[in-house]
Symmetry: C2
Subunit: 342 residues, 2 copies
DNA sequence: CTGAAAGCGCTTACAG
DNA sequence: CTGAAAGCGCTTACAG
């Protein structure tokens, strides 16, 4: 069946194609009477606007590409929802894809998005993505883009994410003041700036209260549940249990919790736990998981704004937004104190 | 700066535009030598293929629209990941949007996707979407589409989801054989076919072992954590605690768990819990949550296949795929037996 | 306030 | 195996 186009609408309404186009975009210079005649014709012949043809002409696709690692992580799910709502509010649609934290896949997906002529790209970089990769893929074509949650060393672009150093510091100070003296950092990809920043902060926070973070007590791994299980395994094989474990993220923490239980250890009682992200799961777990919020909803909402500004004004200097983290203390890290008090 | 197009490539390579186009799509009839000359030209002048222009011409967008209610639900996140991988494997990109379980939002988002001329649509319908709504929005324009997870009464289309009646039956039989006699169904939107099917199955499963599901013990609510908290509240105000609670989904269950604890009740010990979805969270909770798997990964993978077949062969009769559910028994529903044994 | 014409960047028969 | 020409469905100056 032949597609119904603007030409058919024009014929049915007895006006020119240009007039139909003007009516479709609510241009004020069309008389109310003509406008109505056109709308009646549209309803009668069942015309549907073709955004792609318009894009072809205007060179604005009203579509944003977004590549994140894994939306099963509640942190990214929350972020994706907030972003979609914000962009939808500005008339943009979201082309979404998942890199599974693999750079090669990410690169290919970004390439497809560029070919689709998205107006901008939001990227949560895979763990092994380099500045050179991004310059080739996004910088060279002048594609407006925003990095979220993970920074790339020596890469200048818009960025939004939590202040990970400060987040680490908050958790370090908390653990030290609770009386824990041997602390491990578990999970999270080596070399990721987020992990390094959290580790640096953690060390500084502990140190303020006279506690040292042993360099050997760092057990990297994938940034998900399986990574948590594996990293905990390495820790258990490494030697005696520390007093407290700082998990790279709540996803990692859930792996650590199940790993501990599998080893006959009770989280909170046998070893304290702290974490990052403060997803809703952290609050309802048992015992409740102490965690530092990294504000996925605000990353999404404010991130959308940053990208839209970048699209509107490409010559803006690169901007970095660091969100202030917030520590939520729960039972997983306060049992030692309780036992002492008792 | 002027955009680099196929014309520039043709000029640089000393061939016609048609030849460049043929090379880009790997048509075999171009000589290896010409092919290479074109590729060299592309690299030299930094040409990027414009998929939109191609779409304009071929009328195939190589893009699929997907509207789900809420990707923070781990079930939908898993589903979205599986779908994206499967479609990406066939060269399709995914335009994703979230209805927040509101029909009006869903309808608007579907409209945008149709305007974007997606090749097909995957929809997890909002709770109040009707057959007439879908006929107007998708059926009329002949848009290939697939419904997932929730069926719509009196609507003929491709559908894939778990066999909810059978899922309910599995849980009902399990609870009855564990010795629970007063069972409640908590959470999930009234009128959703998924809830009705699960309830029907639950009743049948209990009945096989002589247990009756009291019609008054059904407490509907939103299909998320908040909905679980609210529905549990209604149950607690309604009267004495039942022996066992069947939760509409793992998301609802997590609300029920926190609601119980807030009321000073321990899930598993004071009241048994069963649920649907069997997300990874169910396994690692404490106590472990008995849950019936609804196979989000298979819904995604097999669903992608169904939709691609529909796009290729629009005249196919509507197909329904019901996946066989699987019950995972965990501590949340086995403590009564243990106490008896002791 | 409305119409005729050019053009966005590709692909696709059709010739040669 | 390659080239000239038409066209996908819109928008945008430019006239009138």
């Amino acid at each position: 069946m032949k597609r119904v186009t603007i030409v058919d609408v024009a014929a049915a309404a007895g006006v020119s194609r240009a007039t139909v186009s003007l009516v479709l975009r609510d241009e004020p210079r069309i008389s109310a009477e003509t406008r109505e005649r056109v709308h009646r014709a549209i309803d009668e012949i069942g015309y549907v606007y073709d955004r792609r043809a318009a894009i072809m002409r205007t060179q604005r696709s009203m579509t944003i590409g977004m590549v994140v690692t894994d939306v099963r992580n509640p942190y990214f799910a929350e972020l994706a929802m907030a972003l979609e709502v914000a962009l939808d509010g500005h008339g943009y649609s979201l082309l979404q894809a998942y890199s599974h934290d693999e750079h090669r896949r990410e690169d290919r997906l970004l390439g497809v998005m560029v070919e689709h002529r998205v107006d901008g790209v939001i990227l949560l970089p895979a763990k092994d993505t380099s500045a050179a990769d991004l310059r080739t893929r996004l910088g060279a074509g002048g594609m407006p883009h925003l990095l979220i949650a993970r920074r790339i060393r020596a890469y200048e672009s818009d960025y939004i994410g939590a202040d990970n150093v400060r987040a680490g510091k908050l958790l370090g100070e908390h653990l030290a003041t609770q009386g824990y003296e041997r602390v491990a950092l578990v999970g999270g990809p080596t070399g990721s700036t987020a992990r390094m920043d959290r580790q640096r902060g953690l060390r500084a926070g502990l140190k303020r209260h006279g506690v040292t973070l042993d360099a050997k007590m760092s057990f990297p791994g994938e940034a998900n549940r399986e990574g948590g299980v594996a990293a905990l395994q390495a820790l258990l094989e490494h030697g005696p249990l520390p007093d407290a474990i700082a998990c790279y993220s709540d996803s990692v923490a859930s792996g650590v919790v199940s790993g501990l239980r599998a080893a006959g250890l009770e989280p909170g009682r046998d070893v304290a736990l702290g974490s990052f992200d403060d997803t809703p799961e952290a609050a309802i777990q048992h015992p409740g998981l102490t965690s530092v919020s990294t504000h996925p909803d605000r990353v999404g909402t404010d991130g959308a704004k940053l990208l839209l500004e970048r699209i509107a004004t490409p010559e803006l200097p690169p901007r970095t937004v660091l969100l202030d983290p917030h520590l939520s203390v729960r039972a997983s890290s306060t049992m030692l104190e309780r036992r002492r008090a008792a």
